[in-house]
């Protein structure tokens, strides 16, 4: 299943990437509740903030109502937050927070395109998501983390391309999400992990 060898930190960023790229399912929730991600969470860091974020994420997973239409509810929440732009959503794109004109696929997308082209990477599927989508950026970060020689580059990438907006993204998700939302916890976890990384 995994096409590239991962270390724990790379796996963590891959995990976070997936959380914002595709809807969680009832099966995912079950896996989390069984502790499937615990080894990966060990890479999150030891700081208070990040440990709290991990704990909050676990709490949110456990607290999410266990209804028969769990997958549907998660899909609705995901769509509302990340696919249906409105005043009640949280676009997962750097340009949405960094570009003055409000356009998607702005300069952050262009920079990501250059980065990925230089790395010989591209989107794996026929998908026209702007490349400054949080998940694509986290996946790229995971790739950097998997390369010992790219340590400095990974740090710069986090500082220059992610941290300038992930805090605002996390706040936007928190504002728009349902009470006790897994996605709000995931956005906080993402921001905390990135801050811990530096």
């Amino acid at each position: 299943m995994l096409d590239r060898e991962l270390n724990s930190q790379a796996a963590l960023f891959r995990l976070l990437s997936g959380l914002f790229f595709r809807e969680l399912t009832a099966q995912d929730i079950a896996l989390y509740r069984e502790g499937a991600a615990e080894d990966i969470f060990l890479a999150a860091g030891r700081g208070t903030r990040v440990r709290q974020a991990v704990a909050d994420f676990r709490t949110a997973i456990d607290a999410w109502p266990d209804q028969p239409d769990l997958t549907r509810d998660l899909s609705v929440e995901y769509a509302r937050l990340f696919l249906l732009f409105s005043h009640d959503s949280a676009a997962p794109y750097a340009s949405a927070y960094l570009e003055a004109d409000g356009h998607l696929a702005g300069a952050p997308h262009a920079r990501m395109q250059a980065r990925l082209a230089a790395a010989g990477m591209a989107l794996a599927t026929e998908n026209g998501e702007p490349l400054d989508h949080l998940s694509i950026m986290l996946e790229h970060l995971a790739d950097l983390c998997a390369q010992p020689s790219a340590h400095a580059e990974a740090g710069a990438f986090v500082a220059d391309e992610l941290l300038p907006w992930t805090g605002r993204f996390s706040s936007a998700v928190a504002k728009a999400a349902s009470p006790n939302s897994i996605y709000a916890a995931a956005a906080r976890l993402c921001d905390a992990v990135l801050r811990e990384y530096l």
Binding site: M1, L2, D3, R4, E5, L6, N7, S8, Q9, A11, R14, L15, S17, G18, F21, E23, D28, L31, A36, D39, I40, L42, A43, R72, S75, V76, A79, R80, L83, L84, F85, S86, H87, S89, D101, G102, H103, L104, A105, G106, A107, H109, A110, Q113, A117, G120, M121, A122, L123, A124, T125, N127, G128, E129, P130, I136, E139, D143, C145, H151
Partner: protein
Amino acid sequence: MTTRRTVLKGLASSAAAGLLGPSILAKSASAATTSQGTWQISGSHWGAIKALIKGGRVAEVKPLESDPRPTDMIKGIKGLIYNPSRIKYPMARADWLDNRDKADRTTRGDNRFVRITWDEALDLFYEELERVQTTHGPSGLYAGATGWRQTGQFHSCTNHMNRAVGMHGNYVKKAGDYSTGAGQTILPYVLGSTEVYSQGTSWPVILDNSKTVVFWANDPVKNLQVGWNCETHESLPYFDDLRDKITAGEIRAISVDPVRTKTQNHTGCEQMYINPQTDVALMLALTHTLYAEGLHDQEFLDIYSLGFEPFMDYVTGKGDDGIEKTPEWAAPICGIDADRIREFARLLASDRTQLIFGWSVQRQQHGEQPYWMGAVLAAMLGQIGLPGGGISYSHHYSGVGVPQSGASMPGAFPLNLDLGKVPQHDNSDFNGASTVIPVARWVDMLLNPGGKIQHNGHDITFPDVKMAVFCGCNPWHHHQDRNKMREAFQALETVVTVDYSWNATCRHSDLVLPACTQFERNDIDMYGAYSNTGIVAMRKLVDPLFASKTDFDIFTGLCARFGRDKEYSREMNEMEWIEALYEEARSANGEAHPMPPFAEFWELGEVRFDRGEDWVRHAAFREDPEINALGTPSGFIEISSRTIGKFGYDDCGAHPKWMEKLERSHGGPGSDEYPLWLQSCHPDQRLHSQMCESDAYRETYAVQGREPVYISPQDAAARGISDGDLVRVFNARGQLLAGARVSEDYPPGVIRIHEGAWYGPEDASIGALDTYGDPNTLTMDVGSSKLAQATSANTCLAQIEKFEGTAPAVTAFGGPVEG
């Protein structure tokens, strides 16, 4: 940090792997990109453009250098492509997905959506078509509504929807359109063609021969910014010439309009103020004066027209109403002094006069009448068919008046089934209902299945429609009375919409399929819808964003569900179609209009033809009215129509008449309670509803984030409203928030909100406050008459007040918000 890096050996087989999912990125031999980027030519409703492609995105858009008058709207194009409101993936309304035709329809427009795959989406689309055809037959499906689509001859979405859905089964279609419904119905009876979509007398001819030019409810300088195909803007410099001739005293131009128009401000022409919706009364009085003073051209009337006498009996008070339509009779209705009416009539008859009508005046109750009266007035002046004389109904549209090159233009992707082919469900039993509905009555159809109306000499029986399909068409912009629409949409079991941005039509749908914008696909278009100035290569600027697809791909996929995708596409791909359309035109043009081979054209980006010769509308008819007879029943100009008279309609008789409106300002019906006439004409800064979502550009004209409502200083002061204030505009049909723009261009009793402002109600309730300012929240949904059954949007009164309190957030842009 390194110490925390523990290689997760065997992760692929662990439970954690199940959480990671497939990788988003993969190794790629991507093409090298240049830091400078590349410029590419494309086309649009707003003109031909050059786009800088840099960093995998459209970095800059500018007009083609040869565009003589680029529109400011070019600045909004990037905001269309990269708008957060883009439909990113196929989406389904959650309740509908679970319960389909049993779903709760009261939550439509205010419901949860979930992402589905393209395969799921197209399966659902097909299953619903199949269910409706087998359960209800063709009368259960409405798929005929069309709109201004994006430009491009191959990807024209209207054609794709009609061909694909028609390949599956028959369905209820529409007649007419919202722009010119009344005009295009009445004028074939009067002048033999719709006139509204016809080439007009060349501008150089008008400028050289006319002594008086009358813009009647017409603002071409505003409306010529956009075109049905790729707009050339070649007509706009003629208004500079007109301005110069007005200044030099060579032409006298008059704008008959309640509002001081952009054209008036540009050319410096005179204004003849008129009370809204009273144009027919003024024209009747003009004809009275012409007749009374012997200024009419009796010889022309005798040779070229029929039915003058019964009409003149009506004007002179010998008709049923016994009222003589004198200037004194018209003056209090029109708000114009009787002597000024007489002077105006004398001016029109004094020398060569070109009448140029706009379309807004026929988008009102009895909208057929002003167009018919215009033709009668022109006939009495006797100048129809002369250079710089007669009447036009189209000079504000898509470059009409620019001489046509005569070159053949590329055809389009076929709208219909291929010859000899029949639909999968070849059922023509509409359960006794009509197969074609006048477009502006389709909401009545939803609310009143089995109901009957009269239309253009026929009886219409409304079908019981269960499913509607829209593609590149936004009826939640162009139809009237939003709250009535909200109720009507609850009658539909399934609504499928193909579009690129989350407009209100998408939000009120069950299945929403993301089309890409025209800038994400290759296409070909004519350059100049009437001038045939050239052909433009619409090269794809960037790949389709998100999971969007071309309309061609979407409907090919739909047809594959019932095994007819190869027939649909004729087994040709996008570029093969474009080349075929080009080569067909190249072959037709031959030596007369030489064109380079396709590959060369595609590289160049455009091909241009020599300018055409000047032309005079109706000149051939004037030269020989028998050989070149008009398409009217008699072949002549029909001042009275026996055909229409036989219909026996009480709201459109055998000759044009003045009829009071259900609502009219300036002392008319309803003005005691709602004293302001709401004009909802074509916008100045978008194309109907296209580009309203372009956020940064919208901010250049929005007021406190809302659509502007233009109001006179007098009306504003009387209500304590200042320029820039947030206001509530309301009547018994609805309410909206807008931003006040106080302007001397507007007289007391008149307000304007441009149509095309996106609808965004505060909540799901019927009657909810529209948070952005869609004027059709307030407009009246009644047919113009039994003849055309066209839109009556400009028959609308409202009141306005300063908004106090906390304004709700604008909900018009983006996906649905569950209440």
